[in-house]
């Protein structure tokens, strides 16, 4: 099963031209030169993919990819409960 983390990493590589080799545990979006605008764009892409509304302030550039994946999963779970 593909985890949210894997999904994020794949999107960052395929859609945001991030070098997969640069992505290591603990690395933040900021470390990968992804500013707040890029992060909002990443969330736009994810919500289109998942069909679930993800708030645009879900994560910040100082978050790690792992943390962003957790925060997105929380929103997906809460969307599933409320529907």
């Amino acid at each position: 099963m593909t985890t949210m983390y894997d999904k994020l990493v794949d999107l960052m590589v395929s859609r945001f031209d991030v070098d997969r080799a640069e992505i290591k545990p603990g690395i933040t979006f900021e470390d990968l030169e992804m500013d707040s605008l890029f992060l909002v764009e990443l969330l736009v892409v994810i919500q289109t993919d998942l069909g679930v509304k993800i708030s645009e302030d879900t994560a910040s550039p100082r978050d790690t990819i792992e943390r962003a994946a957790e925060l997105i999963e929380e929103q997906v779970a809460s969307a599933a409960t409320s529907s």
Partner: protein, 407 residues
């Protein structure tokens, strides 16, 4: 007090004739049109264009460029880098507060706009890119150049349709004359070859319908001309006061001696057949340059290849200049780059003055008998050029004229 002379110290070009000043100049001297059938326009009423060959954003601009820059910005970044390097300037050491960027752009990020509108209609607002606005607004072309070079002086975009690049260069001239800036990066960038924009121009009847013979479609001043071929590209000039340029030992490629502007106040798209506005802009530019019409050796015409423009422009040129003034239109080879056209042609005019060589007007097989001016056709012409004029006229009746003189 005599206003300071303004020097052109750097040039950059990205055009359908190639990436770079030398490649473009060679293409212009060869005089062969770059227009061809464009698969991205398949099924539309007009499916021919002149586009920059082999332009690869990741290679020519940088990683992630495709994510943050519309094509009109990409083309300008590449041209500006060439121009700054050509001027021998090092942006890491200059006083950025004294460096301005004034760039012409008629449309902005129209391809981004069209793609995102499609996304809105097909998958809803949640799929619209967060980067839509920063990619489409036309002023971003000057904003990105500021970021690229650390240029924190005056920074803006001019929009006078097909005269935008020329207007920008005229505004840059003023910023140097009045001492606001020490260096100005100026010119234009445009990437308007998109399905909606091309269809819009086609519906107006402005585009050539010579679809079976694209390479013969753009034929300024020819008797069988029937409209323009849309193009794209960027031309960037580095301007400085001549005294500053000489003091740092820079090569002065030509001088920008005059700028004149006017409005026809006649019709949304048709030129005033009497050319009152064009004449006014020409006279104003010549007056600023302190030259008489008889001193003008060469004119790089607006020369779009539309029946109305070329006739009206030629009438004014015939009346104002003597028979020794040669005329060419760059649009025969590279098509009409709209808001970037005047900037590309200004750079070409500098090269023409510098080399005493006039590039030919492509496809001028049979000059319109109603047009009585000396148009250079078929092959380049060697000629001494001390004073040259570059004309641009925009829909909306906006006229802008530059005068370049030999260094």
């Amino acid at each position: 007090m005599t206003p300071p002379a303004i020097a052109v110290t750097g040039l950059g070009l990205v055009t359908p004739a190639g990436i770079g000043v030398d490649t473009t100049w060679r293409g212009l001297l060869a005089g062969v049109s770059t227009a061809r059938t464009d698969p991205t326009l398949a099924g539309l009423p007009v499916d021919i264009s002149c586009t920059v060959p082999d332009f690869q954003p990741a290679k020519h601009v940088g990683r992630r460029s495709r994510l943050i820059h519309d094509r009109f910005v990409q083309l300008a970044i590449v041209a500006a880098r060439e121009a700054v390097a050509d001027a021998g300037l090092d942006p890491s050491t200059w006083d950025g507060a004294r460096v301005g960027c004034v760039i012409g752009c008629g449309l902005g990020g129209v391809s981004t706009w069209e793609q995102q509108h499609k996304a809105l209609l097909s998958t809803g607002p949640d799929s619209v890119s967060a980067l839509l606005i920063p990619m489409l607004v036309p002023n971003m072309i000057a904003g990105h150049l500021a970021m690229e070079f650390g240029a924190t002086g005056p920074n803006f975009v001019t929009a006078t349709a097909c005269a935008s690049g020329t207007t920008a260069i005229g505004c840059a001239l003023q910023l140097l004359r009045d001492g606001t800036c020490d260096i100005v990066l100026t010119g234009g960038g445009e990437a308007g070859v998109s399905p909606l924009i091309v269809t819009g121009f086609a519906q107006m009847g402005a585009l050539s319908r010579r679809l079976d013979e694209p390479a013969a479609a753009s034929r300024p001043f020819d008797v069988r001309r029937d409209g323009f071929v849309i193009g794209e590209g960027s031309g960037i000039l580095v301007l400085e006061r001549e005294t500053d340029a000489r003091a740092r030992g820079a090569r002065v490629r030509a001088k920008l001696a005059g700028y004149g502007a006017s409005a026809d106040a006649h019709h949304m798209t048709a030129p005033d057949p009497d050319g009152v506005g064009v004449r006014k802009a020409l006279r104003a530019a010549l007056a600023m340059a302190d030259v008489a019409p008889g001193d003008v050796d060469h004119v790089n015409a607006h020369g779009t290849s539309t029946p109305l423009n070329d006739a009206a422009e030629a009438n004014v040129l015939h009346e104002l200049f003597d028979g020794d003034t040669t005329v060419t239109s760059t649009k025969g080879v590279v098509g009409h780059a709209l808001g970037a056209a005047g900037a590309i042609e200004a750079a070409v005019t500098v090269l023409t003055v510098e080399s005493d060589t006039v590039p030919p007007t492509a496809n001028l097989d049979s000059q319109d008998p109603a047009i009585d001016i000396d148009i250079v056709a078929k092959s380049p012409r060697s000629q001494r050029i001390d004073v040259a004029v570059s004309n641009s006229f925009g829909f909306g009746g906006q006229n802008a004229v530059l005068v370049f003189t030999v260094a």
